[in-house]
Symmetry: C2
Subunit: 167 residues, 2 copies
């Protein structure tokens, strides 16, 4: 049985008991967006106490404020009324375990030398500084209103606790 | 009290009861990655029955396979051993409610005409076709191994149910 078939079984049970239809699309209660890593140890709704309808959740490898994250945050702030953004990186991130050039070289060896995007993977070495860098990227974008509150955090995957990073 | 302070309170309680440290970073049980929308009505772990450590979760505005999502999936498949990818779009997506050109024109009026990235927001009009397009983007990328299983779905925010989209 494939993993997807397993989670589809779980979804059948979820839908059978589902009684939260009719919610608005915008996260109106908290007006919050969270940018974080795709890592499987981050159970966002539990670790932040989020209910259905509370927050936009944006996740990629590393919790990096890439152009695509800026796209999503512009939509969140400009279309959906978001007023606060949390950036959460975490301990033991896979992006601390390799170097961009090594992964790109391996992929080029295996698949040929033709130019391929992405050209960067955003692996990093300093977790705190990486969070600060993402805050700067977000703060400096002309389409993110200055009124948006931006705060950065490190999530400890062994303790479940968030630690704030000063800007 | 800001929304972020509220969720930090919730995190204190979560961390006080946390007993799931020491998990490996790679989603070893299911070897699954999920690409979906940032929408606040998608409670991924519940609607898919995911436990801590089960799956990489990648989310952006729309659940679009952008260059950044390809970056994340390359890391997931090449570094972390992922073997299956689900793409999930959903009913009532905010990306069905505006046009790229209208949002870009509004932002340029408000912030000036200097060129700004992102240049596209990926708003769309046909939900099923949008899911198919994302499957094609993923399937055609040279750095995603052909052995990776890719399936696409629409999540109904009013019923809690996933519906598969044929490729």
């Amino acid at each position: 049985m494939s993993a997807i078939d397993k989670v589809l079984d779980s979804n059948q049970r979820y839908a059978d008991g589902f009684n939260q239809g009719g919610l608005p699309g915008n996260p109106t209660r908290l007006r919050l967006a969270v940018v974080t890593c795709m890592d499987s140890r981050l159970h966002l709704s539990k670790l932040l106490g989020l209910e259905l309808g509370d927050a936009h959740i944006i996740r990629n490898a590393g919790g990096i404020v890439t152009e695509d994250v800026l796209r999503s945050l512009v939509v969140s702030c400009q279309i959906a009324g978001t007023q606060e953004v949390m950036i959460i990186n975490h301990t033991e991130c896979a992006m601390l375990t390799f170097k961009d050039e090594e992964l790109a070289a391996k992929l080029r060896r295996e698949t040929g030398e033709a130019p391929v995007t992405p050209t960067r993977f955003y692996a990093f070495t300093d977790l705190e500084e990486n969070v600060r860098q993402q805050m700067r990227e977000l703060r400096s974008h002309p389409w993110i209103p200055e009124s948006i509150l931006v705060r950065g955090f490190i999530y400890n995957v062994d303790t479940g606790r968030l630690l704030e990073v000063s800007a």
